[in-house]
Symmetry: C2
Subunit: 305 residues, 2 copies
């Protein structure tokens, strides 16, 4: 989100826009808000009132004008488009502003650079609006056209069961321009989108690379947080851990082979949603020990040296 927001701030500057605006489930907002603060650019952010406190706190700390909309992300999105139109604000919205994909696609460059231009066989990424997976696809196509990589990775989009518009459309061969919105309810707030704004690009990313969509339950997402952290040292927020939960599901479904090199994108820091992390920890049976400050208390827990 930082990459896309950086592009937005530059483009808004070119147009001498007084105000940039975006609607967001929280992460795009925080990215835009922080980058605007660093260059003194005014901005107005629309987020659903239900966004996690940590994400709202970031916006206020950066002194953005924060509109907590009494409704869903989809409501906040529509309102933001209307307001941008009415006031002439520079519009950073995903699926509306074509430059956002140009920011996101640099993630593909970075992955391939770090893998010494040997593209992985598969990339897993969680999907809400679909802008990240669409951006990855564009970046990989750039590298393929340049001849810097010699294969196109399969892109596997992971959706939450409660916000699975693209999974449904892909599985049932539905037309994403005709299909009605889904409800959009999941613990993974960053990928909660009833009507994905970048659904055309997201579907193309999966179908054109021979990839797939998988869906995972909120329970699978929550337990994936500690499992991913313990296995890798990477502490992701629910939407980030969802990509790892998707890999687990994909293995079960035979979508990947044991000898394939697989990249998993973590799209958010675990500190952004501590409550979900603690729920995941409790579900996997991990507990802290409350002890008196005495060696006997340690011995009672740990046994003899």
């Amino acid at each position: 989100k930082d990459r896309a927001s950086a592009v937005a701030v530059v483009k808004a500057g070119e147009q001498q826009a007084e105000i940039i605006t975006t609607a967001s489930t929280g992460n795009a907002a925080a990215a835009l808000s922080g980058i605007c603060a660093s260059v003194g650019q005014k901005n107005v952010i629309f987020v659903p009132e239900s966004a996690p406190p940590a994400k709202i706190a970031q916006l206020l700390v950066y002194n953005s004008t924060v509109m907590l909309v009494k409704g869903t992300y989809d409501d906040a999105f529509e309102l933001c488009l209307e307001a941008a139109d009415e006031y002439g604000w520079y519009n950073r919205n995903t699926g509306y502003n074509p430059y956002m994909t140009e920011g996101k696609k640099t993630a593909a460059y970075e992955i391939c650079e770090q893998m010494k231009w040997q593209a992985p066989e598969v990339i897993f990424v969680s999907v809400g609006d679909g802008c990240i997976i669409g951006g990855l696809h564009k970046g990989l196509r750039d590298l393929r056209a340049l001849g810097w990589i010699d294969r196109m990775p399969r892109l596997i989009g992971v959706q939450a069961e409660g916000s699975n518009f693209l999974y449904q459309a892909w599985k049932n061969g539905e037309d994403v321009l005709e299909k009605a919105p889904v409800c959009g309810q999941t613990i993974a707030d960053s990928i909660s989108a009833g009507l994905p704004r970048d659904r055309i690009k997201a579907l193309a990313a999966v179908t054109e690379t021979g990839g797939a969509f998988v869906q995972v339950s909120d329970d699978e997402i929550l337990t994936a947080i500690p499992r991913l952290a313990q296995g890798s040292g990477v502490f992701g927020e629910p939407a980030g851990a969802a990509a790892f939960a998707g890999l687990v599901r994909a293995v079960e479904e035979g979508l990947v082979e044991a000898n394939e090199r697989i990249v998993i994108l973590n799209t958010g820091n675990g500190l952004k949603d501590i409550n979900s992390a603690m729920t995941g920890v409790e579900m996997t049976g991990i507990q802290p020990h409350h002890i008196e400050p005495s060696l006997d208390a340690v011995k009672a827990l740990m046994g003899k040296p």
Copy 2:
């Protein structure tokens, strides 16, 4: 803290230690915990029960054995030393393990590298146990001895008023080996230390570079969080923002000149203590707007386009 923890994990590996242990106010613990998870190294962490939930959550997510000690950081520290001794665990503790400074000092290398080997005139860093400022000093001395930098920056240590052992000792010329512990109470939990473990190195860092200690109140720290964020895009936790609050105080006290190049170290991510961030936001009068999802609601707030 990541740098020091990485060194600890390597040294523990050399000794084939089954368990690494540390006491921590939270950040060193999280750093050690995450690095241990990434390499499958068992560890036992002692933190005061009062540590912020986000910091405790990180340890559990990584599946460290977490001892929440009913007492202060100083109690947790003493208990950890005893347990390490009793069980033969590898001891990462600040002020005990000499290799930690070797990790911390790399921050000095990075600062000078990023400034193209033109050392800044002054560096501000918040001080709890004193390991970071001691490490910076050592790193700068390395670079000076190598001739890679041609001046030694003045190091200014910032302490919270409620945990100002080193400020007191420096100002009053007290012997840090004789001086009784202070209470150690501040909203900046990461620099709350009644008896700084690396007090000898910390004092030397300031006196040998012609620097100073300054102290700041909890209110100055809390309001520094949004001010730093709004001016730079950097969102720090209380201990991180304290270094910026210290610069404000140092300007008032005439400790720095307007034409000097000054580096401020931010030692912790703001997401680690959202409650303090929100308190700082409220103190500076920033508020979000709760609105119905209608353009009229936006107009009521923003006025005519």
